[in-house]
Symmetry: C2
Subunit: 231 residues, 2 copies
DNA sequence: CTATTGATCTCGCAA
DNA sequence: TTGCGAGGTCAATAG
């Protein structure tokens, strides 16, 4: 990893065109050749960047650029597209390189995938006698999060969100419409499950005969832990 | 801006829980107090981070952490939520600070707003004899990107996306439903225009009688340039 | 202030 | 490889 603090201007051409006027910024060159241009504020998103796979070459500035005070030009070209970045460097204030090695990576907990897995494993929390058919049940317009059967043997499509919004209700409605046209599945009822359900989404869902269930992530994890302890 | 290369482990607690095992990484502390943890690969997204507003404090490690080899702990606390980041530093390999000043910011060109402007100016690319009524035509549920008339004088609502997804078709459908209730406008047909249209979106649109058009940004720009050359 | 929507989205998973 | 949905989404804009 190479860290450069430099007075520079940057031009990007690719999916869009973008330009950064002359200022002092951090240029970060990673081991895979990718480049990030960061300012001293904003968020974690760089002002400009090039994603891997790409290659960086230091080239000589053109005459008019030399006249403007440019000393070096970094030309960063994406390997599989026409995306390219030109960094016009006027002055280098810091330049250092460091060996970091491969990162073991991030361990996450608490996102929707985990909710889905937990609910699938404990589908009976939706009702006594309920059973899982499968997760990510594929339909022509996309996968339903969970397909299961209620105590009476009726099919139930479950849509899971971390935050239950109107979009999620629309999505589930589309699935239900489609699945109810399939005589092998019909009738299919719907359950909208989320850690938090917005009032508008709840109203819309209820109006369409979709049951709303608020999920308690910690409680589900608790069930999971206590069941594991049985072994 | 402070740049630190250090052997460290990181724990995040907030909207989710995440952990980074011990490894050598870049710690980037910006002027607003925000912190980014970068590895030597991946893309522009940090492995872990804290967004402003937040405050960073160096605290003493606990006894068991000292036993593990921790020399310093950075505690980064978000100002308006319970989000916090703990960086357990084992060894500092580089540490430097730099004054960057305020950044003038990025200038962009080629996003959805430009597509809309270009298509409005060259509405005849949708069909001979077509004419623009207006951009951002206001309805009770929001603005339709473009309202125009076809050669026969029929009203056409155009929804523009950079990438055509199912959401965009749903949006256009809602506009069409509403507009077709207005006797002054009805009948209104729909055009779904995007640089790239997903198969599922195309299927849904076609099923609803909405025409799909793939936009070529460079071609539209080309038309624009060649027309400018006439003056 | 909240709500909506685009993004050079990025990232991960599954067909 | 490609497509699709989630994201600690972020960030800009409208209401």
């Amino acid at each position: 990893m190479r860290l450069v603090i430099a007075k520079c201007a940057v031009d990007y051409e690719g999916r869009l065109t973008a330009h950064l006027p002359l200022a002092t910024r951090l240029l970060l060159v990673k081991a895979d050749g990718s480049v990030l241009v960061h300012s001293d504020g904003g968020s974690y998103k760089p002002l400009n960047w090039m994603s891997p796979p790409c290659a960086m070459a230091e080239v000589s500035p053109e005459d008019h650029e030399v006249a403007d005070g440019v000393t070096t030009v970094w030309l960063v070209q994406h390997a599989k597209s026409e995306d390219r970045l030109r960094v016009l460097i006027h002055e280098v204030l810091h330049d250092s390189s460091h060996e970091l090695g491969v990162d073991p990576g991030l361990v996450k907990d608490g996102v929707e995938a985990h909710l889905q897995k937990l609910l699938a494993e404990h589908i009976h929390t939706l009702g006594d006698g309920w059973s899982l058919v499968r997760r990510e049940y594929m339909t022509a317009i996309g996968p339903v999060d969970i397909l299961c059967r209620d105590a009476a043997g009726g099919s139930v499509a479950v849509e899971i969100k971390r935050r239950g919004d109107i979009d999620g209700v629309e999505q589930l409605t589309r699935y239900l419409e489609l699945m109810n046209r399939d005589p092998h599945l019909s009738p299919v009822t719907g359950v909208f499950a989320a850690q938090e359900i917005k009032p508008q989404a709840r109203t819309l869902a209820t109006d369409r005969g979709i049951r709303c269930v608020t999920l308690d992530y910690d409680a589900l994890k608790g069930i999971d832990n206590s069941e594991h302890r049985l072994f």
